[in-house]
């Protein structure tokens, strides 16, 4: 479905950028809606505490154990990118609206931008770097290349992580909002409608959706879930 992505995939994480995106998304409005207020500081002034001290935690990332020290505000996304240098995982909206930051934690795809690193102490994390490497592409990565399923590539690591997790969800029979009857159990067969719905948490501003669906369908067919 060629839905207009409501958010600007800007890397500007200034206050204005973040709130405008939030406003547009919440209002369900399309680009062009005038902003009708500035950024008056409405909250009552109060003394802010200084940053809490950094605490040690362990993340197992792509099979490797890492010890790191972060303060409580650090998201899993920032810990992966800034502390561990794994910059394959992308920061798009940073507000859970675009899916560029998708990683697989304990077998489940999540938005790493809304996860605190400390809340994942001891967890097993797979990022795009752990899914494939040049010369050893994961079948879904190869399918994205073969089907031309991207243009700028910024959303692609998130798309791939999402698609890889999706295969396992289908195998174990998870249903979706387009599944005709949730009472019936068994392997979920990925029709194009199912693929579109199940990949809807990953926006692509270039609009490569048609070929993303093809790439996912190719791999799903190979794995017996389409």
């Amino acid at each position: 479905m060629p839905a207009p992505p409501p958010l600007a995939m800007s890397h500007d994480d200034s206050h204005a950028g973040a709130t405008r995106r939030g406003f547009l998304q919440s209002a369900g409005a399309l680009a062009g809606t005038p902003l009708i207020a500035g950024h008056a500081q409405a909250a009552a002034p109060r003394a802010e505490p200084s940053a809490a001290p950094a605490t040690a935690l362990t993340l197992r990332v792509n099979g490797q154990r890492h010890q790191l020290h972060v303060e409580p505000r650090v998201t899993l996304l920032d810990a992966l990118r800034d502390n561990l240098g794994l910059t394959g995982t992308k920061k798009g909206c940073d507000r859970g609206q675009c899916g560029a930051c998708t990683v697989i934690v304990d077998g489940r795809r999540i938005n790493s931008c809304l996860a605190l690193a400390m809340a994942h102490d001891g967890d097993d994390i797979v990022t795009i770097e752990g899914i494939g490497q040049p010369g050893h592409l994961h079948p879904l990565q190869a399918a994205f290349v073969a089907e031309d399923a991207f243009q700028c590539g910024y959303c692609t690591p998130g798309q791939i992580c999402s698609g890889v997790a999706l295969m396992e969800e289908a195998r174990r029979g998870d249903c979706s909002t387009v599944t005709p009857d949730v009472r019936k159990q068994g392997v979920a067969m990925l029709t194009d409608a199912e693929i579109r719905e199940r990949m809807s948490g990953n926006l692509c501003r270039c609009g490569a959706y048609a070929n993303i669906v093809k790439a996912v369908r190719t791999v799903a067919a190979g794995e017996g879930v389409a």
């Binding site: 406003f23 489940r108 996860a115 909002t177």
Partner: protein, 328 residues
């Protein structure tokens, strides 16, 4: 985000004890709270991580109902065999919400406590929001209010509750179990969320420091005829303009019991038992469905930009009931 301390609760009692500290908030999946903290809407001083508490089971209860722990992730609840087979309405509602990634993170307890996505609440650039800054006025009343409430609103607030899960829980007459400093109590879904009145800063009837520990579903899940219909501006990954949880049981060709609740139209899931009663004893006809829709929407008062929601909701109720009735 402004700085905060982080503590992982070791037990439910530990979490309730920690909640007495100033500026404390419970952290479940974080999909709403971290977003709100990033926007400066919520400025927690302490996050109490309750996500690893042993409240993550879905279990059948001796009375024929099902108990869902507060820390069960939305995706796990949606896909649990007990929910899919006994309460398909709830499974469908879960699956209509958010995205697969967010459903993998978000907890059932956190879903109950979602804040409104009213832009005047969510964007601290706006000065007028009685929910965020009590007494500051309502920016939506004369602002952009296309997706605001048509039922149960007040002059202080016309925000809607954003959850899909809660709409199904209301229809299914679920109850919420909470634990606080004074022990455990159960709150009926109908009483859990509030209308805004003069105090829209309070979304629920939870007392300070109370932690949601689970949701109880009564026996009788309307599994034969149930449909959750969600209408939104794009096909997926968006909040509802209007949603309907509709279900009924049949006996001898007439409706024996019915369950209907609306989302996207009020400060809480909108349910009126008298609308459901209008279906009981009648054949499931379009005329009966329309009567129920009219009763549920009686007194609807749109604001400048959301008049369309009244007609949309009326048709959505009828269509959801028709779809439920067409199920084998």
């Amino acid at each position: 985000m402004t700085p905060f301390a982080y503590r992982r609760a070791q037990s439910v009692d530990d979490a309730v004890r920690l909640a007495a500290k100033p500026g404390a908030h419970f952290l479940g999946g974080g999909t709403n709270l971290i977003d709100l903290a990033k926007g400066g809407v919520v400025r927690p001083l302490l996050l109490i991580d309750v996500s690893r508490l042993p409240l993550a089971d879905v279990t059948a209860t001796p009375d024929g109902g099902v108990r869902i722990g507060a820390m069960v992730r939305n995706s796990d609840a949606a896909n649990h065999a007990l929910i899919r087979t006994r309460y398909p309405l709830l499974s469908q509602a879960f699956l209509a919400g958010a995205s697969p990634q967010l459903r993998n993170m978000a907890t059932v307890g956190g879903n109950l406590l979602q804040r409104t996505r009213c832009p005047y609440f969510y964007d601290t650039g706006f000065e007028h929001c009685n929910k965020r800054l009590p007494g500051s006025g309502c920016g939506a009343l004369d602002g952009i209010n296309r997706n605001h409430a048509i039922l149960g609103a007040s002059a202080a607030c016309i925000a809607t509750h954003p959850s899909d899960m809660c709409v199904a829980l209301a229809a299914l007459r679920a109850s919420v179990r909470v634990r606080g400093p004074r022990g455990e109590r159960t709150i009926a879904m109908a009483d859990f969320h509030r209308l805004p009145g003069d105090t829209p800063q309070r979304d629920t009837t939870l007392a300070d420091g109370e932690l949601v520990v689970g949701v109880d579903l009564p026996p009788g899940g309307f599994a034969d005829h149930a449909h959750y219909l969600k209408l939104r501006d794009r096909a997926s990954y968006a909040f509802a303009l209007v949603s309907v949880a509709a279900a009924f049981d049949m006996r001898d060709g007439v409706v024996r019991d019915a369950a209907i609740a609306l989302g996207g139209v009020a400060h809480k899931p909108w349910r009126r038992p008298e609308a459901e009663a209008l279906l009981v004893g009648r054949a499931p006809t379009d005329a009966a469905f329309a009567d129920a829709a009219d009763a549920l929407l009686q007194g609807a008062r749109p604001v400048a930009q959301n008049g369309f929601k009244v007609a949309l909701a009326r048709r959505a109720i009828v269509r959801a009931l028709q779809t439920a009735g067409a199920q084998a």
